[in-house]
């Protein structure tokens, strides 16, 4: 069955530290993969997406993600976290020929001053 898994429910980092949020997927073919961010009380904002091509994708707000087929992963990274990055982060995937996203359960990021 198709699935998207975010193994970490909570992550806490200090401001200025690097960040990596994990996302694993299970799809028969190469999936379309997305990272969204949800700030408290807000809707979801797209950070970046992977459809095909270069496996390292750049997004907004200094985020990047790397698609690794061998590990079935699409981890989100940021070299230096800012306090305003504190939010809930969702990985989502979709298969070719379907409208449907499957969302991971989210990772809540806390940033310490």
């Amino acid at each position: 069955a198709q699935s998207v898994t975010q193994p970490d429910i909570h992550i806490t980092v200090s401001e200025g530290a690097s960040l990596e949020l994990r996302c694993n997927y299970s799809y028969g073919a190469t999936p379309y993969l997305f990272w969204y961010v949800q700030s408290p009380g807000q809707g979801l904002q797209l950070l970046l997406k992977y459809f095909s091509g270069d496996t390292l994708v750049q997004g907004i707000k200094g985020f990047e993600a790397e698609f690794k087929r061998s590990q079935s992963s699409f981890n989100l990274r940021k070299p230096s976290v800012h306090w305003s990055d504190a939010a809930e982060y969702f990985c989502a995937g979709g298969g070719s020929g379907t409208y449907k996203y499957i969302f991971g359960t989210g990772t809540r990021l806390k940033v310490l001053a």
């Binding site: 020929g97 359960t105 989210g106």
Partner: protein, 114 residues
């Protein structure tokens, strides 16, 4: 200009009532969606419409009925509200049909059933 808008933003109501949530997108997209986000932040798709036609209908109680008067609008009507319906409901839209495209989300409607 708000790309995907929802009204109301907050909705507090009693059990057994009927309520509607409205969604509008001005992106010219063909496809619209309703998602439910529960108290644990889990997001699950409920419905999707493409050019006013229902294309996704997940396992949702039939108390929930979507209506798409035109491709820019997708409303959600809920009959006989129950406590378990309390959640945040997100509307989203995307451009193309038949393939996975980027979805753009509205700000959400926070529904509390007392």
């Amino acid at each position: 200009d708000t790309a995907v808008s929802q009204t109301p933003k907050y909705l507090v109501t009693q059990m057994g009532n009927d309520k509607s949530i409205k969604c509008e997108q001005n992106l010219g997209h063909d496809t619209m969606y309703w998602y439910k986000q529960d108290s644990k932040k889990f997001l699950k798709i409920m419905f999707s419409y493409n050019n006013k036609e229902l294309i996704i209908n997940e396992t949702v109680p039939n108390r929930f009925s979507p209506k798409s008067p035109d491709k820019a609008h997708l409303n959600l009507h809920i009959n006989s509200l129950e406590l378990g319906d309390s959640a945040v409901y997100f509307c989203a839209s995307s451009q193309a049909s038949g393939i996975v495209e980027t979805q753009y989300f509205g700000p959400g409607t926070r529904l509390l059933v007392l």
